[in-house]
Symmetry: C2
Subunit: 227 residues, 2 copies
């Protein structure tokens, strides 16, 4: 089983200090929600983020969206070999059931996550996404158990084709859910290895696709025919 | 070189018959564009599409968006080994320069494509996306040259790990840019092979990621270390 942890993800509701900013109020009005209930989104709230602490990396629900779409629709997930968690900058942990059909449309996705922050689980009829609060990455990895590797710029070079766990050994893959810069959590202390699969900086969804596909390949060396 | 052709993509402006529909007019007003200038989008125009010909598959710019994000940020593209084309249901062909930084935000993406339909190339300062009209899939493949394979549900089973072009032979990979159903273009006649990489129906971005990663792996069998 592979466990994907999107860590330090820049996914949060608008912080209280920014809730009265005109850009935030305008986008809240447009969505028909209160400024406290909407997700911070750098596409719409850029002016509010300019002088805000770490404003250059915050408000990126789009990163979580694309990674989740790629991961949930992956062959590894279709075949039952994947667990998916999103750990946020505010130390929430979101678990997604493998059968989740995440909205492909971005505004529907943000609406769903806003409901999740409000209610703790969604959808109402049959919860597939669960949110737990006060879960640091350290707590989450301890709860998950197993060997964790962090995928990070500047990590030890790793060739996914030849140096990846063989024969289906369990692995927790920690990938950063932020646009640039370092993990905010101490991954070097928390993970057995910090590895880099390419000399260039990669997007979270690029690393996720590479890791998921390589893990599935390494599961077995027998042909896929007849699967 | 791998050429990715997203074919029969459900990407079009609102057809004239639907431009007066209340759902279309509401979303055009919200975007500040005329109903004729906005993209058909099943997320917003579902009521208008219900009784429209092939309405159950049309209006899916989100599919093109996710595939383009995945492809442009792929390692194969970062390393200069990929060309990308989007062929639409109305026989337009969009070419994207490899260095295109496509907006991750969906509304910005649709705005960009709406400008592209208007002007034929975007962005103004340094065009990276070009649109040609009256280009059938047959024309496009003839222009591209080289061997084309279509990836389709029900095609001949293909194991990407072992049966993929080796040593960097050129290939044109034709992937469907629609949610379900068959290609509208006659891919069986136009392509050398029609193949299927998994018994389950796959999303376009899942197939794209698998093909791009497999092609890069097949390019060489030497370790990536020191790249």
């Amino acid at each position: 089983m592979l466990t994907l942890v999107l860590a330090d993800t820049e996914l949060e509701r608008v912080p209280v200090e920014l809730q009265r900013h005109p850009a935030v109020r305008a986008s809240a009005r447009k969505r028909g929600r209160s400024p406290a209930a909407i997700l911070l989104d750098s596409s719409f709230h850029h002016p509010a983020l300019q002088k805000f602490p770490e404003g250059e990396r915050r408000g990126r629900p789009d990163i979580a969206h694309i990674v989740l779409v790629v991961a949930l629709d992956s062959l590894l997930n279709l075949e039952g070999g994947l667990r998916i968690f999103v750990h946020t900058r505010n130390d929430e942990a979101i678990q997604l059931a493998p059968e989740t059909r995440i909205p492909k449309n971005y505004s529907r996705f943000t609406g769903l996550v806003e409901d999740l922050f409000e209610r703790g689980e969604v959808p109402e009829e049959k919860p597939l996404l669960h949110l737990d609060r006060e879960v640091t990455l350290e707590h989450l990895l301890a709860k998950l158990g197993g060997e964790a590797w962090a995928f990070a710029e500047g990590g030890e070079p790793l060739d996914l084709r030849t140096e990846f766990p063989r024969h289906g050994e369990d692995l927790v893959a920690v990938i950063g859910g932020f646009p640039h810069g370092d993990f905010r959590s101490p991954v070097a202390r928390l993970c057995k290895r910090v590895v880099s699969i390419h000399p260039k900086p990669l997007k979270a969804w690029t690393t996720a696709a590479e890791v998921l596909i390589a893990y599935r390949r390494a599961l077995s060396s027998t042909p896929l025919a007849g699967e």
